[in-house]
Amino acid sequence: MFRPSHFAAVVLFALFASVVFGITQRDTPRRMVRYGIYCFVLFVGSAIVLSWLMFLIAR
């Protein structure tokens, strides 16, 4: 059984989803790559920010 940490699961999820979003939502390869990176950073970044918020609220 594969048991990734929460963060590893977020990174894997973001990676796969960003690849598909990049390819399907933009027309040219250059824009696909840029949009994919943008989505990846938003996925991972928002997970980190929300995690810190929940940590601070729970204290």
Binding site: M1, F13, F16
Partner: protein, 132 residues
């Protein structure tokens, strides 16, 4: 000029929904049919990888719907096409979600299906010329 006309003429031939259906049944197949090898490979690796990781995390594959959330999960799982069918036949996935990683796995499987639907629609848009 002439080659573009030939390309347009060949694009009009055949069953227009074939990339959509093929892309739904097999991730990336819609793009492969349109000779978009790179895009198809990336889509196939991403969606199949996500599905396999979901199974490896003992994610649940929805087989019936007892409430609205189950129905949404089943709809997402159906987006995986033949991956869903084979996983049901082979009895893959967990019956009950008992650990946290299994919950992640369940989401991976559902989202893989939803991404596959997006990719299949993208293949259809390429086929109809709505996207280049």
């Amino acid at each position: 000029m002439a080659s573009e006309q030939n390309k347009d003429a060949s694009a009009d031939k055949g069953f227009i929904y074939l990339p959509l259906i093929a892309g739904w049944l097999v991730p990336g197949a819609g793009h492969f049919l349109l000779r978009k090898w790179g895009r198809g490979t990336l889509i196939a690796v991403s969606i199949i990888g996500m599905f396999v990781l979901g199974i490896a995390m003992q994610g649940k594959i929805y087989s019936s719907a007892h409430d609205v959330l189950d129905l949404l999960g089943l709809a997402g799982d159906l987006g995986n096409g033949l991956l869903f069918v084979f996983s049901r036949i082979l009895g893959l996935g967990a019956e009950q979600v008992q650990v946290t990683t299994a919950d992640y796995g369940t989401r991976f499987i559902v989202v893989a299906g939803l991404l596959n639907v997006i990719a299949a629609v993208d293949a259809h848009n390429l086929r109809t010329g709505r996207k280049s």
